[in-house]
Symmetry: C2
């Protein structure tokens, strides 16, 4: 299997032997049911704009990683019913709703290699269709009929929204610490990963220690996933800038490699970060200079090691779960996520 | 009691004898608990922007009509617990979240006589804080611990969001029928009124026919409320234009008085509506001409009668509920809503 880097935010590979693909084959029937349910539920009797916007995003070839985690967790814990399909679709709807709102907030023009919904339609449609998908996800999870599941997803929703607001207020603020960064990452990525895994165990009536293990696994996997993403934006630990790199710097986003470099900055270096990130007065050569500073303080490598730590934490978390093919695949998935920056 | 018209969207009166005020006194302790809970739950440990934005809106002196309906319905059905307070706060959070998103979508600059959050902060904050409040509402309703309540509120959320999208796509479209208008009104107003009432009965374990009655009451009250609001925007049935009138025409909103006039328009009149509403090419005197057309076809009076019909329907719906002071007050409330256009 050859891992394609330089495709941030995507798990992509040639060959067909990665843990994600093997999980896909193992859960193929479940996944078909999830996709079917998503298509049914994104319809709207009265407002055709809704399925138009949703289809654009939902069918744009996302990997369905989050619903896959729900399916895998449920089956791994011996679940034999059908409600995990509803929860997997729930998780994908929440994810899609947040993407729609994110693209408006970030003023993004591209997502998954295609123009964003806010560009094709307008911000209004993205806001309201996002609200609709969130409401639909809510209906689906109520259908699964478990208060504990609703509790998990309600709490995750609050962490997600809080993280988004935190990201907004922390943006371009050089005082952003690694702790705030982690809080933001939990909101934008890890909270939904954790909930996706946890509800799978919950619906399967797994023992509480296994449900907790699934939560910790998802949380750590999500954090690792996001740190890798942020590192790849600077070309990975090898700092090889390419076509898809440097966006975060240009958008003045404070991600871990930069936060660590700012923490160590001397006076002149600090002035550079103030000018480029805080004031946004960037000029030619600034990205290269930023890379030089991150290399000087070894923060790309430090970031890589932190991603590896989180991936290892994810794997270790699965301890209480009995060994099985799916457990091995989830462990491999944690390794795979960081293999993009190996 | 003297009713102040010209304050669309608000129930306002001098004197202290209206049904709303009497309901407020009767449920004063409950309402204090709701306000306390709202203040506690709009806090955010990590993102101070959240309570700032929320406080601006929540504390701007809204009448808390929707949470009052929940409290009244629960107590009227004999509820003696404390969870109705959670549901009332839930309903207010959902309402506030939709207001935040509405103001972004409508590009509004004023709400309740104050600058909107999207103007004071930015659209991004309004979108994300709205999402946060929706998540918080979701947590609160889960705490009430009733799947049926969650089902009611999940369905209401979907109707609300669908109605908003429908309003967006129907905007400036002269083909908008009274049926579509009703669908939009259910989304923007009646669905939450209906759910607010229904969950009160549900938490009180009222018989199903009483719960259904509460739903029908809330739905009809909400529709009546919104039609009155739309009529007042043209100065009521007496068509007395003033400081707070004509906004909907200027914003090219298709509300009932205009929809009814378009349905009866002759060729030249139709050209007028196409120019002013569809194409938005308005000039001095257009509002006055629009009023003339609505007067010609008596659509303001027709709208008034429809609002009265819905208010009567609301009152009649309460039939299955045993007589009580709160039931009488709810009936009076329905009359009071339409007294603004009497």
């Amino acid at each position: 299997m050859r891992v394609e880097t330089g495709n941030k935010g995507k798990i992509q590979m040639s060959g067909n032997t990665g843990p994600f693909e093997r999980m896909q084959s193992l859960l193929a029937d479940d996944m078909i049911a999830v996709n079917q349910l998503i298509r049914t539920r994104m319809a709207s009797e009265h407002a055709p704009r809704i399925p138009e916007v949703t289809a654009h995003l939902v069918e744009a070839g996302g990997k369905r990683l989050r619903p896959m985690l729900t399916l895998a967790a449920a089956r791994m814990c011996g679940y034999e019913g059908e409600d995990h399909v509803k929860l997997a679709a729930t998780v994908e709807f929440i994810h899609t709703a947040t993407l729609l709102h994110d693209d408006v907030v970030d003023e993004s023009g591209q997502r998954r290699g295609r123009p964003t919904a806010n560009l094709l339609w307008d911000n209004k449609s993205s806001i309201l269709v996002g609200d609709y998908l969130f409401a639909r996800s809510f209906q689906l999870m109520v259908e699964a009929g478990r208060l504990k599941v609703l509790d998990i997803l309600a709490n995750a929703s609050a962490v997600i929204a809080e993280g988004e607001v935190l990201q907004l207020t922390a943006a371009q603020n050089l005082a952003t610490t690694e702790e705030i960064y982690l809080q933001v990452v939990r909101g934008k990525t890890a909270a939904l990963f954790a909930a996706a895994c946890e509800v799978g165990g919950e619906i399967a009536d797994a023992p509480q220690d296994q449900i907790d293990a699934l939560h910790t696994f998802g949380d750590a996997l999500g954090i690792s996933f996001q740190i890798v993403d942020d590192l790849l934006d600077y070309g990975g630990a090898s700092a090889s800038l390419g076509k898809n790199t440097g966006d975060d710097f240009r958008e003045r986003k404070l991600t871990l490699p930069v936060i660590l470099a700012i923490a160590k900055a001397e006076t002149m270096e600090r002035a550079f970060w103030v000018r480029t990130i805080e004031k946004g007065k960037q000029q030619d050569g600034d990205l290269e200079h930023a890379m030089k500073l991150m290399t000087k303080y070894n923060t790309l490598e430090e970031t890589r090691l932190k991603a590896l730590d989180w991936a290892n934490l994810a794997k270790a978390a699965l301890g209480p779960i009995p060994e099985s093919e799916l457990r091995s695949l989830l462990e491999e998935l944690a390794d795979f996520v960081v293999s993009r920056i190996a």
